[in-house]
Symmetry: D2
C-alpha cells in the first residue's frame, strides 16, 4: 500500500530523531526555558530578520490557532476566514470554544481576495448597527491554502494593507509553510511574513518534525505574558526542549526548506504522472497537495493499492480526490503510482 492521505503519516526526519536520541538523557528545565529552545528561537529570528519577534513552540496546528486567536480577540471580536479555512471547517469548533465567531468570506481557490475583504469591511462599518454584531478584528489566512494554492507577495501586501486601514490584525497559518516557500513561482519569504503579519506559525508537524509548530508574534507587546495563555490552553509541553531540539535541527543547514523542496518535487512528479495518464489537476496547486477529478471506477481500482482522500462528488460517475506528498515521500512510491495508473 502506498499512502498519499496526508503529510503527517510518518514520524520525523531522521536528523531530528537522531538529535532527540543524542539529547535524550540530558536534564534541562521545562516549559521552553531550556537552551535548545533558546537557540531555536535565535536561529528563527535570524531567518526572519526580526530580533524583537516573540517565538513560542506549541504542539499542533488547531492548538496553535485556538490559543493565538483566543488571545488576540476580546469580547465580541471575530476572526475573518475563507469558507474552506481550517479554523472554520476542521477544528471541531475550537475557535468558537474560545468564545469568538469565525466570519466566513467566499474564496477564490482557497484564497481570500483583498478587495472582497475591503468590500465586506466597508459594508460592515457603514453605520452604527455593527455594534450589535460580532466585530471583525483579525484576518486568518493559510499559506499555502487548504487547496494547495499560494498567495503572491503582492496579494499578501494588499490584504495586509486593508487590515491596517481597518485596524484588523493579520495572522497566517503556516501548517504547510515549507511547501509554500519551496513552490515554483513563490515570491514570498519568511522575512515578508515577519514584516506583514502580526502573527504566523511555522508548521513542523506536516514538514518533518514529530510534532510542533513555531508561533511567531511580531513583538512581545502584541500579547503580554503569552506564556500563561499557552499554559491555560493545556498547550505547554513539560519537556519543552523536545520542541527546541526539533526546531533547532530544522533551522540548521536549511533542513526546513529542504523538507519543503522534497515534498514539492514529489508533488510535481505525482502531478506529471496524472497528467501523463490524462488527468489534469482541477486546481492549479504548486505545492504538496494535488487535486484530481477521477472516474469512480478508477478510484476503486487505485484504492486496492493506494490510499488518498475523497474530496467530493463530481456528478455521478466521477469524484474529486486529494493526493498529498511530503518530506518523506519516496521516488519509489511515485513510480508505483505511475504503474498503478498505467495498469488501471
Amino acid at each position: 500500500m502506498i499512502r498519499f492521505d496526508s503529510d503527517y503519516m510518518e514520524g520525523a526526519h531522521p536528523r531530528i530523531m537522531e538529535r532527540l536520541a543524542q539529547t535524550n538523557l540530558e536534564q534541562t528545565p521545562g516549559y521552553g526555558t531550556d537552551p535548545y529552545c533558546e537557540n531555536a528561537r535565535a536561529l528563527i529570528k535570524a531567518e526572519l530578520g526580526n530580533h524583537f519577534a516573540d517565538i513560542h513552540f506549541l504542539m499542533g496546528g488547531t492548538q496553535t490557532n485556538a490559543t493565538l486567536i483566543g488571545a488576540l480577540l476580546r469580547g465580541s471580536e471575530a476572526v475573518i476566514a475563507v469558507q474552506s479555512a481550517h479554523i472554520g471547517v476542521h477544528e471541531a469548533g475550537a475557535i468558537e470554544a474560545t468564545g469568538h465567531k469565525v466570519i466566513t468570506l467566499p474564496s477564490e481557490n482557497g484564497k481570500l481576495c483583498a478587495s472582497a475583504l475591503e468590500d465586506y469591511l466597508t459594508e460592515f462599518f457603514k453605520d452604527d448597527t455593527w455594534r450589535h454584531m460580532a466585530i471583525p478584528a483579525l484576518v486568518y489566512l493559510s499559506f499555502p491554502t487548504e487547496l494547495g494554492t499560494i498567495y503572491t507577495l503582492k496579494e499578501l501586501e494588499a490584504i495586509a494593507s486593508v487590515c491596517k486601514r481597518y485596524s484588523l490584525k493579520l495572522y497566517i497559518d503556516g501548517a504547510r509553510l515549507a511547501y509554500g516557500l519551496a513552490a515554483k513561482g513563490n515570491d514570498v519569504t519568511l522575512k515578508d511574513l515577519a514584516r506583514l503579519c502580526d502573527a504566523f506559525y511555522i508548521g513542523g508537524t506536516k514538514v518533518g518534525t514529530l510534532f510542533g509548530e513555531a508561533l511567531v508574534l511580531k513583538s512581545r507587546s502584541l500579547i503580554p505574558n503569552f506564556f500563561s495563555y499557552i499554559k491555560r490552553s493545556g498547550a505547554m509541553l513539560a519537556k519543552g526542549r523536545l520542541l527546541g531540539v526539533q526546531f533547532e535541527t530544522m533551522f540548521t543547514d536549511g533542513l526546513y526548506l529542504e523538507c519543503g523542496r522534497i515534498g514539492v518535487q514529489m508533488a510535481m512528479e505525482l502531478k506529471a504522472a496524472f497528467v501523463a495518464a490524462g488527468f489534469a489537476p482541477v486546481i492549479d496547486s504548486p505545492t504538496n497537495q494535488q487535486f484530481f477529478e477521477l472516474p469512480n471506477t478508477l478510484i476503486d481500482k487505485l484504492k486496492e493499492h493506494a490510499s488518498f482522500e475523497y474530496w467530493g462528488a463530481r456528478g455521478k460517475e466521477s469524484s474529486t480526490v486529494r493526493f498529498v506528498t511530503g518530506w518523506a515521500t519516496t521516488k519509489e512510491s511515485i513510480s508505483e503510482l505511475k504503474s498503478l495508473l498505467a495498469t488501471a
Copy 2:
C-alpha cells in the same frame, strides 16, 4: 550539577526511544486510529480488568485535566479539590477557562478526607440556596498527591461512596501514578482505580514517556463522542501513533511499574541520606517527592552543586524544599548528594 527539581527533566526511557526510532518511517493513519494505539488500549484494558473502558491518549496533564473536566461538567457545575490541588494552583486557570469553578476544601497532607467532603456536601444541599451557587458535581483527587502522599484503598472507597451518595463523579489525576502504585505500603491497584473512578489518567510524562497521558473513562457512555472534545481542545495529536507506541512499550513487560519502582527506590535512598544527615522529612511521603526543612545556609551550599525546588519559608532561618526523583535518577546522583550533605 545534580538535578532533583522534577521528574520531567529528561527525555524518555531508552526502550521508548528505541521503539520510536524503529517505527519512525512507517505510515499510519492519524489521530489515534492506528494499530499502535489500538494495541496500547488493549494492553491497558487488560491491566484494568475493564474491557468497556474508553481510553484516550492526550499530551499533557493540564490538557488532560481541563479537557476531561470541561467535558464532564455542565452549566454551573463545579469540581471539588483540595487547596493544594494541581488544577487549583498550577494550571493557570485552565479549568476556569472551561467555564467551571474549582471549589477548594482543606486537606490533610494533600489528601481529601471523605468525612470533610461529606460534611461539605450535607451543608451545601441543606436548603434551596444552593441553586444560586456553583454546584459540586465532580471530585478531583491526585494519586499520589502534590505532597507525595497516597490514599489507602479504604480511604478511596470511602470517598467514592460519598460521591455515589451525592451523585458526584470521581476523577483521579495520575500524573505520577506509577510512583504511587510502587510505593511501600500501597494497597491500591489499577483495577481498584478502574472500579472506583468514573475517570482517571495514567501519567506518562513524569514516568518515562517523552510526553503523553492515558485517560481512562469508565465507559464510552460517560462522554459520548469524547474524540471531538479532544479535537476541540487542541489536544489531538496528528501523529497519534507516537502516543500508542509509547504506551504500548510502557505496558509491555511491566515497564510502567518498573519506572515507578526505580523512582521510589531512589527516593527512599535520597530520604535515607537526609535522615542520616539529621533531617527527617517534613511529610511522610512514600513516593518520589520528598520534602525537608533545611537551614538556609545549607540550602545555599547545596545549590552550588544541586538543583531542587524551594517550597516555602519556615521561620527566618530555614525553609522547606522539595527533592524529586524519577525513573531516570541514577545511583551516582544519590551518592553525589550524600557527599554534598556530608561536606556541607
Copy 3:
C-alpha cells in the same frame, strides 16, 4: 415624527402598567418563585396543552437564545440557522460566547427548508470526517422570521421530522410570535409549537410587555436544573414577579393574541398604503414587518417626518427599507403615513 423603526419603542400595554402599579408594594419572594409567576406558568401551560412543560421567564431575546442554546449544546456541538438569523447576525456573538458555532444554511425568504437541512445533514455525516468538525445538534428557527415570513404547519412538521431522524433538537425563537399567530393564513398554533419543538419562547418585549420572554422547555428533563443556567447567565431577575405579573396579564382574556392582531392589522393597513402609492412589498410578509423598495428621493422626503429602517441598497437610485408596526401602532400614525406618501 411617526416611528416605524421597530416594535419595542414604547413601554408596555396599559393593562400591564396597571397591574404592575397595583401590585407594586406587595412583598413576594424573588427569582420567579412567587405566586404571579406560578399563575402565569399555569395559564401558559393550559394554552400549550402540555402540563409537563418547564417554563422560565427571562428578560430579553438575545439573553434567552444564548442561555438556552448554551445549555442545550455540549462540546463541539453547534446550532444550525439560516444566514439572516438573529443569533447569527444581531447578537454580537452571544452564541459563540457560550462556546458554540452557528452553522449557517441558505434560506428562502428567511425560512429554512426541510430538504436543504436534510441534504446538509446527509452530506455532513456521510463519513467519519465529521469527528473533526463542529457537530450540528440543534436547529434554530424564528417564527415569524427576520423577514416577517411564517412557516406553515406542514413546513414545521417537515423540519421537526428531519430533526428527529438525525437526533437534532428543535428550538424556535418567538420574539414576535404573537404577530405570526395572528397573521392571515397562519395555521400554526401554540399547541403545535409545544408539540413540535424541544424548546421555544413566547416573546413579550416586542408584543406589549415592558420586557420579558417566556421560555418553554418540553419537559423538566430536557435541561435539569435550568434555574442555575439562568442565574449563571446573569439572566435571573431578582424581582422575578415583575415577569410573572406581565405574562399573567398577557395570558388573561387573550391579551397576547390581541396585541398580535393589532400589530398585524396595522401592518396590513400600512402595506395597503404603500401599494396604493404604487409600491408593492418586496417580501410577501403577513406579519408586522413590511419591506419595500423605494426611490432614495422618496426615502429622504419621508425621513423628514417618519422613522424606519434602512435595509440595503437596491442599485444606485433606490433602497430596501423596513417598516414595523406593533401592538402600540395607532390608526393616526397610519393615516399620517398615507398623507406623507400622497404628498411625497
Copy 4:
C-alpha cells in the same frame, strides 16, 4: 406576615412607578441611546465629579459583575475577592463562566484588608512560578459588604494604593450602595468611589428601582466598545429607556440617598428592638442588614409571623439569622416585630 428576607421583595419607589407610567407610550430609540438615559448619565456624572466617566445601565447585579469582570480580564487573569463575596458564593459560577478564576482571601467581617492583599501579592510574585498560576489582575470589593459592614475612606485608599502598586484594577460592587452612603459614621462619598475605583456600580434593584444597576467606568478607554460586551452578555435591554427613566428619577431631588436613609433608619430601629429584647447583633453593621444570634425556640416562634433568613447554626440550641430592611420598610412592620419579640 412581616418580611425582612431581603431588600428586593417590593417593586419600585412610587415616584419611579409614576414616571414609568407618564412616559409609557412615548416612542424612543432602544438600547440606552434615548434622552432619558442621556440625562440620567449626566445627572450621575455631576454627582461623581467625573465628566469622563463612561456609564452603562444593566439589569441586575450578577449580570453587571460578570459582564464587567469578563471584559476587564484576559487569559489567565483572575479577580481577588473575600471568601464571603457575592461573586464567589452566590452567582452560580457566573464569573467562572467568563473563563476566569475568583481567588479568595480571608476577610474581617466581610472586608478585605489592604495588608492581607499586599502580603498575598508579594508572595505571589516572589518568583517565576506565578506564570503557571491564575494571575491576580483585579480586586473586587462590596460596599457595603455581604455582612453589612462598610470600609472607611482610609481603608479604601489603602486598598486602592496596593492595587496601583501591583497594577491591579479595583472594582466595587455597590448593590446596596445607598445604604452604605447613608450609614452613620460613613466617610466615603460617590466622588471618592469615582476617584479610587476603575469601575463600580450604583445599585438600583435593592434600593428602590424595579431593576437596574448603573455601572460606572472611570473612562471610555478602560473598555473600548463596552456596548458590545453588554450586548454579547445578553445584558442589553431593548427598551433601555426604562433604565434611564428610573435612574433619572433616582438622581433627581436626592431620591437615591433618601432611599438609603430610610433603609438604614429602619435597620437601626430594628436593631434597637433586638437589643432591647436582649440580643446584641453579632456583627456591628451600620447598614440595612442586621445579624443576630437567637435561640432556635425563639426563631421558630418568630417564624409564625415574620420571615427572615437563616444564616448558620451556632451550636445546637441557637442560630445566626439575618434581618434586612430597605427603602420600603414601614414603621408599622418594625412595631409589629417589637411586639413579636415582646411576646415570644
